[in-house]
Amino acid sequence: MAQDTDTSGAGRRTGTLRRLLSGPEPEPAEDAGHTGAPARVGFFTDTSVCIGCKACEVACKEWNAIPEDGIDLTGMSYDNTQSLGASTWRHVAFIEQNVVAASLPSAQDHSDVDVFALASGTEPGTVGATEPGDGAERDGVRWLMSSDVCKHCTHAACLDVCPTGALVRTEYGTVVVQQDVCNGCGYCVPACPYGVIDQRKDDGRVFKCTMCYDRLGDGLEPACAKACPTESIQFGPLEELRERAAERVEQLHRRGVTSARLYGHEPDDGVGGDGAFFLLLDEPEVYGLPPDPVVTTRDLPEMWRHAAYAALGLVGAAAAVFLPLPGRRSGR
């Protein structure tokens, strides 16, 4: 690591070491040692069709037998779940925004929309769903809902910093904690740039979304995607999802929903792209997501280099204070 001289930290290098720490990484499973790995899978969460039913939260809790983690009334719209955590692996965020009614995309003319075609599912991705803004034009309130989840980062800081090897990259390119190895050191918790993984205090170990690793092995899709009634949560090969997401954004833009944007889809972002990415209708931070997350280990070579300088400085200073060598030992 010491020979690496890229001080910019920009992660633009394509050298193997660089690729392992940050930047585009087409084969995370292969580079983690899986030979003949299946195609990388992921989630595409299209928040524009989320209806806030929380079926994903419930299905996740049920399938993974996750314990209850507090029942609170928060006053945060319909969000009493509050955040992702050791015992919350899907979290539906609710945001109520006051907006000028005329600015809503739904103020446009809908007279040419064939609702029966929509309801019969001939138009993909909108089955039984409300288009963003629909119904809101009357009072000028916009309601955003989004089901958050572990991003299964291409460069996962949690995995990088784990000292025991408990966190691993699976053959599907996902990131999973091996519960029989984790010793609860908690290092992964502050390392995650999305604040996803957390420790169960009574258990001591950390927990997070496994993308239903046990279901994947049997060819099943994760419980949340299965339960989602609007196809807001889509599961599949990541490449395919990225194409579908690009089409969906274009479709929304054509319909005047100019606020639609993808989040976490780019393979050259700070974490090398998310295995679980999103279509959002406002800035990421509105949903509690970091606007420009970076995997902390991108800067690790530079950290070690500075630690080496500091250590050398310590040795140099120590040598200097002892320099007036023996003979002059009167305490001066």
Partner: protein, 330 residues
């Protein structure tokens, strides 16, 4: 959620949400999800982890000074520092194990060697340094196996600087803004603070006529500590205020006073008065410990407030888009 007790979360910083209109009070322009943190703050206990940082620094820098003392014929100082290093590193490792959610599984730390995990690198470092420090101490106290003792002394002094600084990398290699964004300065802060502690220990435990180097080390380390901390806080920009405000601010401030007083007292009076040397040394030790607690609390504060996540990331994005396309910034 633990944060609800102190009234920080959910009040004052909301811009949007159910009651957004009434609560639009904020300084920095940024949006958040009901003022809730984006990052998870460390689950670590401050006593365990700040203690682990402090004791590791005391041990590592102490081994370097011990070797210097031995080489220059200061046996009492060497013996004292070897003892304190052995005890401190045992305490440091104990604090780390105590903080584990599953202490019984501490041996899993040595299950793999992972260069990307400073905690893994550190565990292996401790596995090498610990026995060396213990051996050097045992030989110095019993007078037995002097050759092996010298070898252990040299070994401990070689690994000591790494032991004193890797914890800075450990903290910086997280998403915690006050730690990660300080990754160029934190190792210098930790190295200087470790030397403050070790020279303080030397002042406390060695006779006045041997303590000349310890007094000089104290002054140098104090100056380096003040300078490195100042540069770090400046360079951090907005996030730097986490080192100046609240609990972290009080800890860092007290640490500065103790460190400066200790170094000055030792330098001016420590050559004549044993009492002054002991008091100065104790102040240096306390200052170093408080610095680590201050750094710890600054990290917690920076993770707790989404401002320190959103604002720096936003300005990073803005400067990046200006860089790639200066014309399009309009």
């Amino acid at each position: 959620m633990t944060e609800t007790g102190n009234g920080r979360v959910g009040t004052g910083r909301r811009r949007r949400g159910a009651r957004g209109e009434r609560l639009m009070v904020e300084r920095a322009e940024f949006t958040s999800y009901y003022g809730r943190p984006i990052l998870k703050e460390p689950t670590w206990s401050s006593v365990d982890i700040a203690g682990y940082f402090f004791l590791g620094g005391l041990a590592g820098a102490g081994s370097v000074l011990a070797a210097g003392a031995q080489l220059t014929g200061r046996p009492a100082t060497a013996r004292a520092l070897k003892t304190s290093s052995a005890l401190a590193i045992a305490g440091s490792a104990a604090a780390l194990v105590h903080d584990l959610g599953r202490p019984g599984r501490f041996a899993n730390m040595l299950r793999v060697i992972k260069p990307t995990s400073p905690m893994s690198v550190g565990s292996w470092l401790l596995a090498g340094y610990g026995p060396a420090a213990a051996g050097a101490c045992a030989s110095a106290l019993t007078g037995r196996l002097p050759r092996l003792g010298t070898l252990a002394t040299v070994g401990a002094a070689t690994l000591g600087p790494a032991v004193a600084t890797y914890t800075a990398v450990l903290a910086a290699d997280t998403a915690t803004p006050a730690w990660h964004d300080a990754h160029r300065h934190l190792p210098f802060v930790f190295a200087a603070s470790a030397t403050c502690a070790a020279s303080g220990m030397a002042l406390v435990a060695s006779p006045v006529h041997e303590a000349g180097p310890a007094r000089r080390a104290a002054v140098a380390a104090c100056a380096a500590d003040l300078a490195a901390t100042e540069m770090m806080t400046k360079q951090l920009g907005l996030v730097g205020e986490t080192y100046e405000q609240g609990k972290a601010g009080r800890l860092m401030h007290t640490a500065r006073i103790l460190t400066t007083a200790g170094a000055l007292g030792a330098a001016l009076l420590g050559g004549r008065s044993r009492t002054a040397a002991v008091l100065g040394g104790a102040a240096l030790l306390a200052g170093s410990a408080l610095t680590r607690f201050g750094v710890f609390e600054a990290g917690v504060a920076s993770a707790r407030d989404p401002k320190y996540t959103v604002v720096p990331q936003r300005s990073r994005m803005a400067s990046r888009s200006e860089e790639t396309d200066p014309a399009a910034s309009a």
